[in-house]
């Protein structure tokens, strides 16, 4: 009944599916962190969204996930961060299945999804502070102000989130990327509501993140100012 589309395997790495998942003899810290997806398949209801997704991302690499609306980009990202379960296959971080050590993985990943995750009744600064506190990161007021300034939101410091424009709300979320240390960024359409200058700004953040050995998984319909290390078309 439901034909599955040919799975996108543009960035498949041969031999990686055989990587041992739980090799306890390998010390974790010296191993450069790798995000590995092995034979991932997800469906929504009866419909198979994608299957046979294999990739491995090392420090400094970012994966551009593309595809038509409804092709499962958001589902893939949610599966990668561990919010949605995969039908088959697994995601591992530094060689460990993310379900085995979820807390270690969550420490390393920051996910910006479609919903803004902002509270309309809180000010921009309060929203940022609360979001970081939830992650267990305490920031000094000066660091917070500096981050808001970097995202050109210094004038919106005390403005309620409901009064911010779509682009300003997105930039407020991006301020989290500056303040919250994370090795892996999983960003769902981060460029969508941004103006040209802000796209450049986020491009700069992404470049700095990659230069620092970070990994990124980003969906975007727009051109991204940083050249993608890999592409995956769903």
């Amino acid at each position: 009944m439901h034909r599955s589309p040919p799975p996108g395997r543009l960035s498949q790495i041969k031999g990686l599916s055989g990587t041992p998942m739980n090799d306890a003899s390998v010390p974790r810290t010296p191993v450069p962190c790798v995000l590995t997806a092995t034979d991932l398949a997800c469906s929504r209801g009866e419909r198979r969204l994608f299957e046979g997704i294999d990739f491995a991302l090392r420090g400094g690499e970012w994966l551009h996930v593309r595809g038509a609306n409804g092709s499962g980009k958001t589902t893939l990202l949610r599966t990668l961060v561990g919010l949605a379960p995969a039908d088959t296959g697994s995601v591992s971080w530094c060689g460990t299945d993310i379900r085995a050590e979820p807390e270690t993985y969550r420490e390393a990943v920051v996910y910006l999804g479609h919903p803004a995750a902002l509270k309309d009744d809180l000010s921009a600064a309060e929203n940022l502070r609360v979001a970081l506190e939830v992650d267990g990161v305490a920031v000094a007021a000066e660091a917070l102000d500096a981050a808001l300034r970097r995202l050109h939101l210094e004038g919106e410091h005390d403005l309620r989130a409901r009064q911010l424009s779509a682009g300003q709300r997105r930039r407020l979320l991006l301020a989290r990327l500056v303040l919250r240390p994370a090795r892996l960024w999983v960003l769902d359409e981060p460029f969508a509501p941004l103006d040209a200058a802000s796209v450049e700004l986020l491009g700069g953040l992404l470049r700095a993140h990659l230069d620092g050995g970070g990994i990124g998984v980003v969906t975007s319909h727009q051109a991204v100012p940083v050249a993608a290390s890999r592409e995956l078309v769903l």
Binding site: G82, D120, E133
Partner: protein, 243 residues
């Protein structure tokens, strides 16, 4: 762009040094929800005014019959408290679910269950505690004497957290369901029955000159049990709702 490059790495290094740690996840979630409640005071007063209005309707409807009012008083106050707690439940997780905050809480590298427990505590402080404080005043309408009012307050003090804990499980289970509010009431109200029986039973026992210790002990035992299991049950339901 060089300022950007610097900025992105410096706080990361600072945080990795381990200096930056906030309060526990329970406290952070509790404080956040209280801050939101303070910004949205109308929601706080909805439950309380509902409680006041409903309990005031009984004496008005029944008329000046002190004996009858004294009989039904504890039960009426408890039923009203139960329904008032129910009012705030659909919103407990719904707005966080809708705006993606709940996902971020689930993804935080800290115990999701403790964050959920913090939200439950906030729900009780906002929707439950005001009822407890208001109850003695409303009890006067039913002609309850000072001793009965004391027992009523103690039973509500132990009972309303129990209502918040059980209600949160129901709120999590009905999250994202269309018409979830009615379903939530159907799901949760039967589970409230033991709390109602032993809560109002304590006040009646006191009126009958019996010891209230048994009733309050059972109520307390149920609270301890709910404290142990409700956050985890709620967390599991929330994770399913988010999939």
């Amino acid at each position: 762009m060089s300022a950007l490059v610097e900025g992105a790495t410096v706080p990361a290094a600072a945080a990795r040094a381990g200096a930056a740690r906030t309060h526990g996840p329970l406290f952070v979630a509790l404080r956040r929800d209280l801050l939101l409640a303070a910004r949205h005071r109308s929601e706080v007063f909805t439950a309380l005014s509902f409680f006041v209005v409903v309990t005031s309707l009984f004496p008005l409807g029944i008329g000046p019959e002190p004996e009858l009012l004294r009989r039904i008083g504890p039960g009426a106050l408890w039923v009203a408290a139960l329904l008032a707690t129910l009012l705030g439940l659909p919103r407990l997780f719904a707005s966080d679910h809708a705006d993606g905050t709940l996902e971020q809480m689930a993804l935080a590298p800290r115990s999701f269950a403790l964050q959920v427990a913090g939200k439950m505590a906030a729900h009780w402080l906002v929707c439950g505690l005001p009822l407890v404080l208001m109850a003695p005043l409303l009890g006067l309408q039913f002609g309850l004497d000072a001793d009965a009012l004391g027992v009523l307050v103690v039973s509500l003090l132990v009972g309303t957290p129990l209502l918040s804990l059980i209600g949160a499980i129901g709120a999590a289970l009905t999250l994202g369901v269309r018409g979830g509010g009615a379903l939530l009431a159907l799901l949760v109200l039967p589970l409230y029955v033991p709390a109602l029986v032993f809560g109002s039973g304590a006040v009646e026992a006191q009126a009958a000159g019996l010891s209230v210790r048994a009733h309050l002990s059972i109520l307390g035992a149920m609270l301890v049990l709910a404290l142990c299991f409700a956050p985890w049950a709620t967390t599991a339901a929330l994770r399913i709702a988010m999939e």
